[in-house]
Amino acid sequence: MQYAAYVLIQLLVIIMLAPLLDGIIRKIKAFSQKRTGIPLLQVYYDLLKLLRKTSVVSEESTWVYKIAPYIVFSTSIAAALLVPVTTKIMPGTLPGDIILLISILGLGRFFTMLAALDTASMFGGMGSSREAMVSILIEPSVLVSLFMVGLISKSTSLPQIMQAMKGIGAPLTYPVFVMIFLAFLIIIIAESSRIPVDDPSTHLELTMVHEAMMLEYSGRHLAIMELGAMIKQLVLITLLVNILIPHDQLIAVTGIGALVVSIFIYVAKVITVTIIIAIAEVCTVKLRFFSIPNLATLSFILLFLGFLQYFILGGSNV
């Protein structure tokens, strides 16, 4: 019963927090351009409005198009359940590890890409093909980064990884974790379709990746598709902050008070990383599409060097 309550809290925190991050990033971008920008909570209003609107569905589309949003949404949420957010949820609610996490996100991506092809639109195929390329290039980094933290804590299960990281103290003072941190930032940027890999605010066919796949969606389908993407981004950020910047309350929650503190610390950490991502977005331009391999290589090289330093040269430095 207690665990059920924790799961519920975790779900609420994730769903409520995810759109806020988009709001923050948009606000920072607006500030950097000397604009006031839309209100911080506009993303929520948009989503609510979209939910109530009529869906315009393509005549060519089939059931794949209609079930895809629900699958994408539920995979994002399931991924969120695998990652301890505010407290170390014991295995038993959703036993899973990093490999299952990657696979679940893969299920979501599979259906996003299929749904884009379903409407016979030229943009859909374009977005789907580009998404395929970006994901292919970034996937080795995703697995290796999670594998490395797993290896250091001798387990692939996320609660145990977080416990081991807390045992280390402040992971970010060690070179290997700094490299994982930087590589994971690149992963977050690539996986959640941000500048410099993809521009979330564009509708120009030359530059769209994720937006091109969403182009045919409208109404409630679009709303949950977007919310799913935001939650996926939050899950990735959560992975980063809760593994590499662990806090005490995360590991062992004993009561309501600690839980509230934990939620506050967690939200603060997530917002900090979001601001870093926003600043990165403000400072860089979108990469040429065929320069993305260089960025992906960079993240992989960071991890590879980290691996060399830690597992081959360093012995047991940590």
């Binding site: 003072t173 060690y174 070179p175 700094v178 490299m179 391999p293 260089n294 290589t297 960079l298 090289i301 960071l302 590879f304 060097l305 060399l308 330093q309 081959i312 040269l313 360093g314 012995g315 047991s316 430095n317």
Partner: protein
């Protein structure tokens, strides 16, 4: 067992990876500046942290900042500005492959260094492997670039690597040797800069492949 020398040596190694991934000649010079700054930091940190208090290392640190962070890069920039403005594709293979090959170089230097007796007891000294890799990557950088300035930067990186290796293995060479090496490097850069001028005047390009014409 946490050591900021580890962090520094990894960063020096990483900066040479960034150098390898750079596309433009201006960014070579910028990266070289950063790398030299990191080396100066390392020398300075070592000067402070060693028990006996090595004043000479602090002097070397200052020297590196003056020479390699300010003077030589500025000279290179001037040279570059006077010979060519056109940005061309300067590398022989595409960048991800160059970078992956550099990774292989790191692994290779690990295998080579791990057999040396006496440097390490049990675990291999990561810093020495990293600095050896910097030397190799510097050489590989010289091979991979076509323009003469690339060669100069590569040469300087090799020198950086040698210096860092000495720093990490024996906590710096005798001061007089360091001084000699720095003056050597400075002269070398001056001469090479002069040569680049000459090459560019003779061949209308600083592409070293054109030097093939020089054979008899």
């Amino acid at each position: 067992m946490f050591s900021y020398f580890d962090v520094l040596s990894v960063q020096i190694l990483f900066s040479s990876f960034i150098l390898m991934a750079n596309k433009r000649i201006k960014s070579y010079i910028k990266t070289f500046r950063i790398q030299s700054l990191l080396i100066a930091l390392t020398a300075g940190a070592m000067g402070f942290s060693l028990e006996k208090g090595r004043i000479d290392l602090l002097v070397v640190c200052l020297l590196i900042i003056v020479l390699k962070v300010i003077l030589i890069p500025n000279m290179l920039e001037k040279t570059y500005a006077s010979v060519e403005y056109i940005v061309e594709k300067d590398f022989i293979l595409n960048i991800p492959i160059l970078v992956i090959l550099s990774c292989a170089l790191v692994v290779f230097s690990y295998f080579s260094v791990s057999t040396i007796e006496g440097i390490n007891s049990g675990i291999i000294n990561a810093q020495i492997v990293n600095s050896m890799s910097v030397i190799l990557i510097g050489l590989f950088f010289m091979i991979s670039r076509k323009k003469a300035i690339g060669q100069i930067v590569g040469f300087l990186v090799v020198e950086n690597g040698l210096y860092v290796t000495a720093l990490f293995s024996t906590h710096g060479l005798p001061f007089i040797v360091d001084l000699g090496v720095f003056i050597d490097v400075l002269t070398a850069v001056v001469i090479m800069g002069f040569m680049v001028f000459n090459i560019s005047e003779k061949f209308d390009s600083i592409d070293i492949e054109k030097l093939n014409k020089l054979r008899g």
